[in-house]
């Protein structure tokens, strides 16, 4: 029996893992072949990461067996996995900012420190795979793409035969992603690696893999050869129902803008005579160290429209979001809702004025993981679920259950700690919390980053719906595809100010590209 399976480097049989009431992986089988990239596709919470964590020994399976080179084995921690030739590149980097590249590579090794040998090893690996990382660079100074290369070097140092990549392109630019796949393909062809690529991005799985396993709700729902697969069928298998093309376009990290979406753009609304709902005038703020965060930023958002703010990350999106969350006090400039000025930096002032915010990082100022789902859902409307300062348990449960149903949040119960929900469901809680307090303005910064197709489609739909109900929606995103798919009007943010504006009908990728890079002259802005 063992000989018959020899083409497989690693076989997983009936892997099962339960977290509390959530069955993360249910009887999953998977076989990795030498010299092949195997895509594992699924939405957030489908069980992909859990499955991989069991392979690498970070989680122990409740049931199931692993067969490595035809022999049954058990892996209890990553060190043992490394001994068996299994390496993993994690979704979230585990690098120490203050240390250099080679020091990070050496971290976690046993025995005596040998800087010379480690540096040589790093250079050797980077040269062999064309990774081009300076071993003496400090990690703090590296871009996301470079940091990932360091993670890959850490993984390759043990000469693994099986490499697992968990959502490797989540924070990479398209060209960095391209580069990563080139390195992978090279390693697979030359050294016969078996690669498991965990992803929820259809296009990269289609592009980079040889074989695809699709997971949903902890089960394997489909196995296909990549050559026989297409985006639409994969999306359907992954989500469990047909997905609209527009959301799929928005999902594509590589900003392929759907021409159709622009062509069907609604007729331009004219706002003449009608005052803007949100009016930001000359907002400026400096950080404690003197860095300019916002530099005279002005923008208007009218009722019922989605204004998209495009730009490269770090050009003022975060300070603007924080200002609208009452977290920053402006040095100068004003913010007004329906003509009434709102004081910045005063606790809850923005929320009381009707500005609800979905932040880019929900754990930063969006939700509280250690509190329950119900508590997270009612925190903006405490006054409505309490009588003379006493919380009404029944009303809270009822309200929470209503929102859980309305926003299709998958939670075992309203009293489950939020931390036990998957990322997509936590984001739905943040969205539900923002929309349930009856806002006049909805600010959404990167609302779909890191989410799967189903959740992206859902959240995009809710943003559109909110605008149709007359809410002024301000959408900040670094993903042009998302902006193109949703925004009625597009602004470009650069170094803390808005430097360009265009209506949806004038959408011009090239011009936006120039503006995002800050070249107003070439883009024809005066």
């Amino acid at each position: 029996m063992a000989e018959a399976n020899s083409e497989f480097v690693l076989e997983l049989h009936g892997m099962t893992k339960r977290y509390g009431e959530v069955l993360a992986c249910d009887n999953v089988d998977l076989k990795l072949r030498r010299g092949e990239i195997h895509g594992i596709l699924g939405e957030n919470g489908a069980g992909k990461s859990t499955l991989m964590r069991m392979v690498i020994g970070l989680a122990l399976p409740d049931a199931g067996t692993m067969v490595l080179d035809g022999k049954r084995c058990r892996i209890v921690d990553p060190t043992q996995a490394a001994e068996h030739g299994i390496g993993m590149v994690h979704q979230h980097y585990s690098l120490v900012d203050a240390l250099t590249v080679w020091e990070n590579v050496e971290l976690g090794e046993h025995g005596k420190l040998d800087p010379g040998a480690t540096r040589e090893r790093v250079v050797e690996i980077t040269e062999r795979y064309g990774l081009d990382v300076d071993p003496d660079a400090t990690v703090r100074d590296l871009t996301a793409g470079m940091r990932q290369r360091v993670e890959i070097v850490k993984c390759l140092r043990h000469e693994p035969r099986i490499i697992i990549l968990d959502e490797p392109t989540a924070v990479l630019t398209p060209s960095e992603s391209q580069y990563l796949f080139e390195v992978l393909v090279q390693g697979v062809r030359r050294e016969g690696w078996a690669v498991a690529l965990v992803s929820h991005k259809l296009d990269e799985v289609l592009q980079a893999t040889d074989r695809i396993t699709i997971m949903r709700d902890g089960h394997v729902v489909e196995r296909v050869l990549t050559d026989d697969a297409d985006a639409a069928s994969l999306a359907r298998a992954m989500v469990g129902r047909p997905v609209t093309l527009r959301a799929a376009a928005a999902a594509a990290a590589i900003g392929a803008i759907s021409e159709e979406a622009i062509a069907t753009s609604s007729a331009e609304d004219s706002h003449e005579g009608e005052p803007p709902v949100l009016e930001i005038t000359g907002a400026s703020v400096k950080a404690a160290d003197g860095a300019v965060l916002l530099d005279g930023l002005s923008l208007d958002v009218y009722a019922g429209e989605i204004v998209g703010v495009a730009g490269v990350e770090g050009n003022g999106q975060a300070p603007l979001t924080r200002t609208l969350s009452s977290l920053i006090t402006l040095d100068s400039g004003t913010i007004a809702v329906n003509g009434a000025e709102v004081r910045s930096g005063r606790a809850g002032a923005m929320l009381r004025a009707g500005i609800a915010v979905i932040p880019a990082d929900r754990h930063d100022s969006g939700c509280v993981p250690q509190m329950t789902v119900a508590e997270n859902l009612v925190m903006s409307t405490l006054g409505e679920v309490s009588v003379r300062g006493v919380l009404q348990g029944d009303e809270i449960s009822e309200r929470a259950q209503g929102l859980i149903d309305e926003f299709e949040i998958h939670a075992p119960s309203p009293d489950t700690p939020l931390a036990q929900l998957s990322g997509g469901n936590q984001q739905r809680v943040v969205l539900a919390n923002a929309l349930s307090c009856g806002p006049k303005v909805l600010v959404a910064t990167q609302p779909t980053r890191g989410l799967d197709v189903g959740a992206i489609e859902y959240i995009s739909g809710r943003l559109r719906e909110a605008a149709d109900e007359g809410i002024a929606v301000l959408l900040m995103s670094t993903d042009l595809g998302e902006i193109a798919a949703l925004a009625d009007r597009i602004l470009v943010i650069y170094r803390g100010a808005i430097i360009g504006e265009m209506a949806r009908s004038e959408f011009d990728v090239e011009r936006i590209g120039l503006l995002i890079g800050g070249s107003t002259a070439e883009a024809g802005v005066t």
Partner: protein
Amino acid sequence: MTDLATEPAEIEAAPAEPSRWRTGLEWAVLYVLSIAGALVISAGLVAVTGNSWQKVFGALLDGAFLAEGRWGNTLTVAAPLLLVALGMVVGVKAGLFNIGQEGQLLMGAMAMAFVGTKLAGPGPVLLVLGLVMGVVAGGAYAGIAGVMKYRRNVPEVISTLLLVFIAYQIVGYAITTDWFLRDTDPDRPSRAVTSAIMPEGIRLPVIRMFGNEFPIGFVIAVILAFVVAFVLVRTVWGFRFRLLGSNPKVAQKMGIAANRTGGMALFISGGFAGLAGAIMLAGGSSGFRLTTGFATNIGWQGLLVALVAGSNALASIVVAILFAALRTGSGFLASTGVDRKIVDVVQALLVLALLIPPAVMFVRRRRKALAMADEEIDLANEEER
């Protein structure tokens, strides 16, 4: 045939979740075992110092509960411990580590002493006023740390701690200054410098039962423990505290200003310690007099109570009684000839013992999962053969 069909079902059913009461029992057994372990080590230490551990434990038990009138004493001591712990719990839930209860307690006791010995009026009114002023004094003293934190970003851990040492000096000044609290009565029983004695009418009513007596301070503390538990979980104020403690940014966004809500939490936290001080004085500590050594580490030990109780208000009741028992029990040790310091060691061992079960449970769960995986591999290998 039927056997073959039913067998796999049984195997699958085996790794089901253990029932809740069984897990509860495991926890209970672990706690009993680790506490027993601490006692065995303590007994060993006593034996090493050349004494009989039976006698020592007997003395501890007698001193804490069994001898005449002793459990009343234990409850008397438990009251301020519990109050201090409650203040700590409120602070921790709001994300604030007020560790200066020893000083806030002294301020509360000083306020009570002032009201009791300097103001005139009907006893019950003065008693209630004294308790209220105790809360205000303790709260205001912690409030200084709050002002420093929210005006100048001084961490409250440091400022509350350092304020303790200033409090010692303030009390020292008060009881050595004639116009302030010093006892100037020429007929006073001892020549030690203390405050004047609390008049009879301004002392806490005492509950007498089964030959024991304790001031109503303990009853007040237990009631407040339930109030704190209720407020934290079931009221808007408690929710705000917890939100501030869990994520200050979300709190700010939702309209909970850190300076006001956090300052309030610090005030309440210090208020509990102040109340503890007022209750100690009006309940008879140091012979109804404020002295330099009045606080007797109650403020520090109250912190420990909250810590061991896992910042849970109701669990603090039990832990406070346990710690009070160790204090009162050690009073009987002198008769056995054992150094009282051994009680400090026993206390430390008990604190450690209470921290062990959670760690053991974690390791056990992992082992169990590993063992199950092993069995499965063995089973599978046998099948293959």
